[in-house]
């Protein structure tokens, strides 16, 4: 009720009437003119609470009431004694000044509150512009944030101004909707279309300069999003460039050594097919072919991954099956080094791509066989809403200097059959399905952890 515009007038009337009633009862005992002070109290209270307008009306009402009820002759608006004219004049003037002062004070306080609210809303908008709105955040999110600040039903961000078509866009503020140009550092970025106000609420864009401030923030956020997107693109280009040059350097070596071995062995065989070391030469050819095959497969997958062309098919997978299949597939690579597997069979299903998981685990097992020392072990555990598959060995571990770059292609180099891209590929495949692959510090040997998010497994009847 206090917020309604008529409330002040009602309060003024009630206050004046009550004061008059009290004074009529009390007037027998006191000097009449000094009673006027009591009316001042009402004027002060009403103007302080409801503003100068209601205060002014209350002043007038009190002067009239005072005159009617207390200045002789009572019950007329005429005044007999000229001294009472002076008293009434002073009373009227005091009431007027009081009402204006108190009203002005109230206005200032209200304005200060509004400014505080403006600042708060703008700060909220700025915060969401900085945190929520990254590259690729939809403009509708930003529009919603602007609408919250402006106190309107909705806001739309129009990047391509031509997209408004023949629709007329009003640029001056209006309840029926209007648009503010979005400009960052002198560069036009589009339009912020502002919808109609929320029903029963004063739209905040009425505040001087507020709409412009909101538009400024939105423009900054848009610009920041563009810059971030550019930076990401540059970064991925740079990484893909780095990868390409690493590939060129690494690949030539990695391809050449098995090719050389195969060519030499086949030349030796064609010279002397019946030589006693022919079976050994054939074995070299078969082994080196396997190595080439793995290299090609890993490189192809890696470049597919870089190009975003790996198709990920997420489905519910049983950790036990992932591990069993990986062990089966890795068996030819591990030879005698049979891994130690400790799995409980109460592990929850995980939402992942089984084919990619198998590739990751095979690469990790092969890596452990090449660079570590047996026993290789494969464990699974759940931790913090994730399934973690852990491949570790008992070798000397990863050189601490090499550790930060162990997932980069061709960093570790290869000794005896490694391709130099296995770990890079494994990490990429893990990330492609929403998982992570990390190197953990272990008391002995290297420990790689494939971590996959656990979802909510649907009920099985």
């Amino acid at each position: 009720v206090i917020g309604k515009p008529w409330a002040g007038y009602v309060a003024g009337a009630l206050g004046t009437a009550t004061t008059t009633g009290v004074l009529v009862v009390a007037s027998g005992h006191t000097n009449v003119t000094s009673l006027a002070v009591c009316y001042q109290l009402v004027v002060l209270a009403v103007s302080g609470l409801f503003g100068a307008g209601a205060g002014l009306a209350t002043s007038v009402a009190s002067v009239l009431a005072f005159n009617w009820f207390f200045l002789p002759p009572v019950h007329t608006f005429t005044i007999a004694d000229s001294r009472n004219w002076v008293a009434l004049g002073v009373f009227g003037a005091t009431a007027l000044i009081t009402s204006q002062l108190a009203g002005g004070f109230r206005r200032q306080r209200q304005e200060a509150r509004e400014r505080e609210r403006d600042a708060q809303l703008l700060a909220e908008l700025a915060r969401s512009a900085l945190s929520d709105l990254g590259p690729g955040t939809s403009e509708s999110v930003m529009g919603a944030a602007a609408a919250r600040a402006l106190g309107v039903q909705g806001c739309a961000i129009v990047r391509d101004v031509r997209a408004t078509g023949s629709r007329a866009v009003r640029l001056s503020a209006s309840e029926g909707g209007f648009a503010i140009p979005l400009i960052a550092q002198g560069r036009p970025l589009g339009l912020l279309e502002v919808g109609s106000p929320l029903s029963g609420q004063e739209p905040r864009w009425r505040r001087p300069g507020f709409a412009a401030a909101v538009a400024g923030l939105v423009a900054l956020a848009l610009e920041r999003g563009e810059l971030l997107a550019q930076a990401l693109q540059t970064e991925s280009l740079r990484r893909s460039d780095e990868l390409k040059s690493a590939l060129l350097q690494g690949v030539s070596h990695e391809f050449r050594s098995p090719l050389t071995a195969i060519r030499t062995a086949s030349a030796a065989l064609s010279e002397a097919p019946e030589a006693p070391d022919a079976p050994a030469l054939l074995r070299v050819m078969a082994e080196e072919t396997d190595r080439l095959e793995r290299l090609v497969a890993n490189l192809l997958d890696l470049s597919r991954l870089e190009a975003g062309a790996v198709s990920v098919r997420l489905d519910w997978c049983a950790p036990v099956e992932l591990v069993a299949e990986a062990l089966e597939a890795a068996r030819p690579l591990l030879g005698e080094r049979e891994p130690v597997v400790s799995l409980t069979d109460d592990l929850p299903l995980v939402r992942a791509d089984a084919v990619l998981c198998e590739r990751i685990l095979v690469n990790l097992l092969h890596n452990a066989a090449l660079h570590g020392r047996p026993p290789i072990s494969l464990d699974a555990r759940t931790a913090g809403g994730r399934l973690e598959l852990v491949v570790s060995d008992a070798g000397s571990g990863v050189d601490p200097e090499l550790a930060p770059r162990v997932f980069d292609a061709f960093v570790a180099g290869s000794n005896g059959g490694g391709t130099g891209v296995g770990l890079a590929l494994a990490r990429g495949l893990a990330e492609a399905q929403g998982g992570t692959l990390r190197l953990e510090t272990a008391p002995r040997g290297a420990r790689f952890v494939l971590s996959l998010p656990l979802g909510r497994v649907p009920e099985v009847a």
Binding site: R313, W316, V320, E321, A324, L343, V457, P458, V460
Partner: protein, 226 residues
């Protein structure tokens, strides 16, 4: 008499090497380089097995598979590109008996070929008794025994096991298993399979974590290996 194998492969050099490998293993290979060649060769001189590369220059190998199946029960092993599980599933749906992934290990290829030919030679109809490890599955009596002792299976567990046992050695795709055991509405509910396979393995495998008979075919389906 050596079993005839029709090798469909468009790379002449691979065809030559493959033929040499098959001859060394005691088969009588015939080569075909295109889909049309393959269908004609199969019609003129019906082979005992077909080794079919899915990537052919004229039309897909999948088509060859489908058209062969229109009139022939010859066992077909398809050669599929690595990492393309959808292609494998499509080939199995088109009637292929098994698949190997290119580049395949020669030993693996020969083993698959032997297995499909052995299955094709088995007498037609449902085998009354399927045995693996210490498990006996009596399809007629709907009974499962482990080391002579009856094993209690739920209706769905039994249905899943029986479906696999009716096609011993064959890969059954997730979708095919879900349809036949749970019904057409369940074709996408892979988690049912995961849960039920795990229960079956606990009851039937010596080491459920390293199954030897109820085998996962990653990304494709399951197979009962006898």
């Amino acid at each position: 008499v050596a079993a005839r194998v029709l090798v469909v492969e468009d790379e002449a050099r691979i065809l030559r090497a493959l033929s040499a490998l098959l001859r060394a293993a005691g088969y009588d290979p015939t080569g075909a380089e295109t889909a049309e060649d393959a269908l004609r060769a199969a019609a003129l001189r019906p082979p005992d097995a077909v080794l079919l590369d899915l990537r052919l220059p004229d039309g897909g190998g999948l088509d060859v598979c489908r058209r062969l199946r229109e009139w022939s029960e010859v066992p077909i092993v398809v050669v599929s590109a690595a990492g393309d599980e959808a292609e494998k599933i499509a080939a199995l749906d088109a009637g292929a008996d098994d698949y190997v992934t290119k580049p395949y290990a020669p030993g693996e290829l020969l083993a698959r070929l032997r297995a499909v030919m052995r299955r094709a030679a088995a007498p037609p109809g449902e085998p009354p008794l399927v045995t693996f490890a210490d498990i006996e599955l009596d399809l007629a009596a709907r009974e499962v025994r482990r080391a002579g002792e009856p094993v209690a299976l739920t209706a769905h567990e039994y249905a899943l096991l029986a479906e696999l046992a009716r096609h011993p050695g064959r890969v059954l795709t997730h979708e095919a298993l879900l349809r036949s055991v749970w019904g057409p509405g369940y074709a996408g509910e892979t988690h049912y399979l995961r849960v039920y396979m795990s229960r079956l393995r606990r009851k039937l495998e010596a080491d459920p974590a390293r199954p030897r008979h109820l085998v996962t075919e990653t990304g494709v389906g399951y197979r009962l290996r006898l």
